[in-house]
Symmetry: C2
Subunit: 367 residues, 2 copies
């Protein structure tokens, strides 16, 4: 029942195992641990749920020296100071260059731990066990690690690939419903930007996914990671097609920033952002009104908000969007949809249409 | 008169320019600066001497946005906190992913700046302008960057290659005499471990080097970097022959640690450490007594100390040497000399000889 996706990166290639109950299978981990020292990095939310299980699995077959660091939960703790706590723990336990770090948690834990692994003794091995749907489909592929700086998100980091990723669908059972929906927004994104068959599959199976059927989740995660891996392989350094992964993100970032991080989840903001992108694409005459409705519907079925915050004016959106890092020389570029399954990065849209889109509120894609 | 050494690392290859007055030649820098934002990182000692010259050179032909950070001088400031000051400056000046960092200073500045470049926005370009002889022959090649942690030296860092290195012999004129000698210890090391002809050349030219003749310094730096580049190319990940670069370092670290960093310069401790390695090699019957004397003599001509601190007992050395990171499983491995120009990494030496060497004091290699 498990699926395996090989992310092909030459001598930095690695497998992603996807399925139920992976956390209790030592055979998925031990081949990727080369020394005998293992540091698990997790947070105060995940530790009580899964830390003991993981430790038991690790110690069931091998005599590892296992230690752990439990960080506070939340994006506001994605800082260099937390990375330094990991260094402290590694050095206090005298961990050497052949040690392995395991990130057990969501995207924040994965990003912090990956950067610590990239920088400890100039680079040690690390393993990712993402515990949110968002991190399973997003941080599993791409090798981006890092932390925030008070003056900017993800400003400090490294490209660093894991030895293996375990995406265990069973750990999603403890995920808050809002976070499952937020993760589905990123899953839906892959259908929209490049995989029309997957989008249809998602339309057919969205209720089973919302009910957390293991088999359907496995398939959805597999196809999301496969799509991301294809895009990243095509454009590792983010000069071209990789930017299509940002569908909905420029609108979404404006919402997140305006509302304050944490009030809207990233995936929720991206979901609404994707509907705004679909709306603008329809106004440009690319996406049919019918396809625009399909976008609206699947988001609704995934319990994602279908309109931006009422108090956000068009000008407010524009102000935020112009400081987004994807703006080159004042030229606003957006990821839009030519059709369902085909995204483009373009600044070739009318200002009038953009305004209408930003003003549409709850009528996105509807008139 | 300038020499150019190409460090061949595939798509991360870069040139080292060596010669007098390089700091005022914009043509050596501008081809390696791809964006228009340049951040110079230097320290309180070097800034008053060379920062203005470098800025003038940069601004003489191109319209760069040039900013600078001036860090405190000294190994005790080689910390993550200083790296963070660089991030602050980069973000306050809104530097983007195409910016370039220039390290203007000794090894500490090079290591800190290189790590900041490796980590800012997951990696930006950097240029090294080493201003000590030690950093010109040591940090110019190898790509090691990083900072210290209270629990260990160089524990946090990355492998990150520069775009270009300028080793300007003219900046050495302001170098304290002790630091010139300390740098020469590392130069002599390359002759000892793998280049007997270079060792003879050094014996012939040591007084000219001490007098800071530009042409001789250029030649000495070139051949040192060439030797290091050859070793690193052979063993990039430090599994084998690269360890011979540590000749004298295990003894030297014991001296540095016991005396407290800063009392003995690194190069001074390495110099004495190399004589201790030569002494032990002679006791093992490998190095002739005559060659051992040649080592003693060239160190004396370079004004380097020829004996360890009088109060350091053999046991004191052993205690320090056993915690050195090059000890694998309690097995003390040392870099010793089969002959002048041929080093080996070995644990195959007699404990009795090691004790005699550690007890020899001012009679190293002499009875």
């Amino acid at each position: 029942m498990n699926q395996i996706l090989n992310v092909d990166l030459g001598d930095r290639s690695y497998p992603i195992h996807i399925g139920a109950e992976l956390l209790s299978q030592p055979g998925l981990l031990t081949p990727h641990i080369h020394g005998h020292q293992v540091m698990i990095v997790t947070n105060t939310t995940v530790a009580p749920l899964y830390l003991d299980t993981l430790k038991r699995t690790l110690l069931s077959t091998e005599q590892y020296q296992v230690a752990n660091v439990i960080l506070p939960d939340g994006e506001e703790h994605k800082t260099l100071a937390q990375v330094n706590l990991i260094f402290d723990a590694l050095l206090e336990n005298r961990f050497n260059r052949t040690c392995t770090l395991i990130a057990l948690g969501g995207g924040v834990i994965g990003d912090i731990t990956g950067f610590a692994a990239a920088s400890y003794q100039r680079g040690v091995n690390f393993i990712q066990i993402p515990t949110t749907l968002l991190s399973q489909v997003d941080s599993s592929v791409g090798g981006k690690t890092g932390v925030n700086h008070p003056l900017g998100k993800n400003m400090i980091g490294a490209f660093w690939q894991p030895q293996v990723v375990l995406a265990d669908t069973r750990v999603l059972k403890t995920l808050p419903a809002r976070e499952l929906s937020a993760g589905l927004a990123e899953v839906i994104k892959y259908g929209l930007i490049r995989d029309p068959d997957f989008f249809i599959w998602l339309e057919d199976n969205i209720s089973g996914l919302m009910a957390m059927d293991d088999e359907l989740l496995t398939e959805a995660i597999f196809r999301s990671c496969q799509n991301k891996a294809d895009v990243v392989a095509e454009d590792e350094k983010e000069h071209g097609v990789r930017a299509t992964l940002n569908l909905g993100h420029t609108f979404g970032h404006a919402i997140e920033t305006e509302q304050g991080y944490g009030n809207w989840l990233h995936g929720e903001a991206v979901g609404t952002g994707m509907l705004m992108a679909a709306d603008l694409s329809w106004r440009e005459g690319w996406l049919s009104k019918e396809d625009c409705s399909r976008v609206r519907q699947i988001l609704a079925h995934a319990n994602l908000p279908a309109e931006p915050p009422a108090q956000m004016s068009a000008q407010c959106f524009i102000d935020h969007m112009l400081v987004d890092k994807k703006v080159l020389d004042g030229n606003l570029r957006l990821v839009l949809l030519k059709t369902i399954g085909q995204a483009v990065v373009t600044s070739d849209f009318s200002e009038m249409h953009l305004h209408a889109c930003l003003e549409a509120g709850k009528n996105l894609g509807q008139k």
